[in-house]
């Protein structure tokens, strides 16, 4: 028996209503039971699905011409700015753009959802006016049906998998991975694991340009690779499109990540034709096989350290161990709705509503994403720190500390132990307090702050500025990896560099 099935045969079965369709969640069981060849004979199509936050979502809208006509240069929909630099009455509204009046509470994603829900949306447009387009201002209320086109084009959806997030610092972080509690208080993750479209075809054998998909309830299509596509490391993405007029609010939900911003939850599913054993093998993937790292978002740099590797099965179990402690996990994406997408797609194929196609153009399965090439040198702590070290030792008398503050003309002294390691910090304020309220404090160690927030010579100035702000301190000792003090960075140093931009 030939271990190949043509797409024509599969489509013939779909049209006749007797194609055999399973979801990617069911497929591992089918393969385990029937073997690869048995599963190949039994299954024609495997449907996948994912439903989660996909910031890189938006739509091209065409409003039609007004009378007198306008060439819109600035476009606002419910006070959310859309990009108007595409012809006279076209605009692209991106999901993450925030309202000029309501901030994070309402954004492009909400405009898209309101349109799909059939609500009225206010369009406000401005123009300098031209001979052919004399009008300078326009305000009107529109519903989705009033638009000529509302075509969703999402530059990056359906991430193959996504690293999980946690937080080592002592404060809550508000991120695009949700709320991360202090001291590894929780772990958040995203992605559907076993149902994820690309995880079921990581070599892009049947996923490619022109392939029909489910997008937010509408029949859509894969355009090609998504932005930031990095399948060489297992992080492929897709650029996708569909008509908003066919979408359903059930699979399109605006959201706000508290303290971070607006995003769109969207359902995407790809039906995979079982044309050969390769497809059988790749769709037999299980949650256990799809592995991601747990990343510490407490480290404010692009290359955040991985704490450990886990599988989607581990993440879905509700808790995992990090450094000997059991930490609760929770998803940001909805597995329930991902299942809904795969099941809906299964119904579409079974009922003949959607037939399949092979890629008209292949997607590169080896590509790797590159970091940004930065041509301007980024200022670092070492460029602006004060290299003079004003220090006392923890056993010194307070009087000695006062003398050194005066001598150094500074407000901060680092406190060093006998080995020269940083053990504390004292400020003019600490000292004045001790003198104004004489008590038992005699030595530096009695009044110093021992939990010292520090920086290092390589740290980016933007990160230092955030540290000063968050901890409400005015100076940070600069230390090397052995806690040896190299200098001091103060808010004044930052202020000098940026002409006050960093000071509130």
């Amino acid at each position: 028996m030939a271990m190949e099935k043509s797409i024509e045969l599969i489509n013939k079965r779909i049209r006749e209503g007797n194609a055999r369709v399973v979801t990617a969640e069911e497929m591992p069981g089918v393969v385990a039971e029937l073997g690869e060849e048995g599963a190949f004979a039994e299954v024609d199509v495997v449907t996948t699905g994912t439903f989660g936050a996909m910031c890189s979502t938006g739509a091209f809208l065409n409003f039609g011409h007004s009378d007198p006509p306008i060439r819109m240069s600035q476009v606002f929909l419910n006070d959310v700015e859309a990009y108007g630099g595409v012809a006279a009455v076209d605009a692209y509204i991106g999901a993450t753009q925030q309202s000029t009046t309501r901030g994070m509470e309402y954004g492009g994603a909400h405009v898209l959802e309101d349109f799909v829900a059939g609500k009225r949306v206010e369009l406000r447009a401005l123009s300098p006016g031209t001979d052919c387009y004399p009008r300078r201002e326009l305000t009107t209320e529109l519903i989705l049906d009033d638009l000529n086109q509302a075509i969703m084009v999402n530059p990056r959806n359906a991430y193959q998998r996504y690293n999980a997030a946690t937080n080592s610092t002592d404060r809550t972080l508000l991120t695009y991975m949700g709320m991360l509690l202090p001291s590894f208080g929780n772990i958040t993750y995203s992605g559907a694991g076993v149902l994820s479209p690309i995880s079921n075809d990581p070599s892009f054998h049947v996923i490619g340009s022109g392939v029909p998909i489910f997008l937010a309830g509408a029949p859509g299509m894969i355009i090609g690779e998504g932005t930031q596509h990095s399948p060489g490391k297992g992080f492929g993405t897709l650029m996708v499109t569909a008509d908003m007029k066919e979408m359903s609010q059930e699979y399109l939900r605006a959201a706000t990540m508290t303290g971070y911003g607006v995003t769109m939850y969207i359902g995407v599913g790809v039906p995979l034709p079982v044309i050969d054993l390769g497809v059988v093998r790749s769709t037999a993937v299980r949650d256990e096989d799809i592995r991601v790292n747990v990343i510490d978002y407490g480290i404010p740099s692009r290359d955040r350290p991985a704490l450990r590797e886990v599988s989607y099965a581990d993440l879905k179990s509700g808790s995992i161990e990090i450094r000997g402690e059991v930490v609760k996990t929770s998803s940001l994406s909805s597995y329930r709705r991902a299942r809904g997408v795969a099941l809906e797609l299964k119904r579409w194929v079974e009922s003949g509503k959607m037939t399949l196609s092979l890629p008209t153009r292949r997607i590169d399965a080896t590509k790797l994403v590159r970091p940004m090439r930065e041509t301007a040198r980024v200022p670092r702590v070492q460029d602006i720190m004060d290299r003079n070290i004003y220090s006392v030792s923890d056993g010194d008398e307070l009087k000695e500390a006062a003398k050194r503050l005066l001598k150094g003309d500074t407000n901060h002294l680092v406190v060093l132990d006998k080995e020269g390691k940083l053990v504390g910090i004292i400020t003019t304020y600490d000292l004045s307090k001790a003198i104004a309220r004489p008590g038992r404090a005699k030595k530096v160690r009695d009044i110093m702050t021992t939990r010292v927030i520090t920086t290092n010579p390589d740290e980016h100035v933007d990160i230092v500025a955030r540290k000063l702000e968050h901890y409400n301190v005015s100076a940070l000792p600069v230390v090397d990896p052995d806690e040896k003090v190299l200098g001091m960075l103060t808010a004044i140093d930052l202020g000098k560099l940026f002409g006050g931009r960093w000071l509130k």
């Binding site: 989660g52 990540m257 939850y265 929770s330 998803s331 597995y335 329930r336 299942r339």
Partner: protein, 130 residues
């Protein structure tokens, strides 16, 4: 049962909670309290059978007492069953059922408010008593 006790300090200061504990003999657990110079709002937890006794006592001491049957409520139309609320709740109020649907055990809630902030879909809110 959760009781939301509000009182003002206009009529002179009365240690309402201490008095209620002393005079009813019921052990009251304070889940959350916000008290300033003009008055306060305190969320307490009392055994169901003593609910009536405690609220009458506090009422007679000049406080307004409301029973909170569903401390945190979920708008099922907005909720997408993502589960973002699960790991941030200190009391394990949220879990998934076998169908990956969000389940809640509201009686464990101490109204810390974390889940209300964390829900990306604005689906959780605090019941406005009244």
């Amino acid at each position: 049962m959760k009781l939301l006790v509000t009182f003002s300090r206009r009529k002179g200061y009365e240690p309402i909670i201490a008095k209620a504990v002393k005079e009813t003999g019921v052990l009251i657990r304070v889940d959350r309290a916000h008290i300033d110079s003009s008055g306060g709002e305190v969320l307490i937890d009392v055994p169901e059978e003593s609910c009536r006794l405690v609220s009458e006592k506090m009422g007679s001491l000049g406080a307004t007492v409301k029973i909170l049957e569903h401390p945190v409520v979920r708008d099922e139309d907005e909720c997408v069953d993502c589960g973002a609320c699960i790991s941030i709740c200190p009391r394990e109020v949220f879990t998934f059922d076998g169908e990956w649907r969000l389940a809640m055990e509201v009686e464990k809630c101490v109204l810390c408010g974390k889940c209300i902030d964390a829900c990306p879909h604005d689906a959780l809110s605090q019941q406005v008593p009244g």
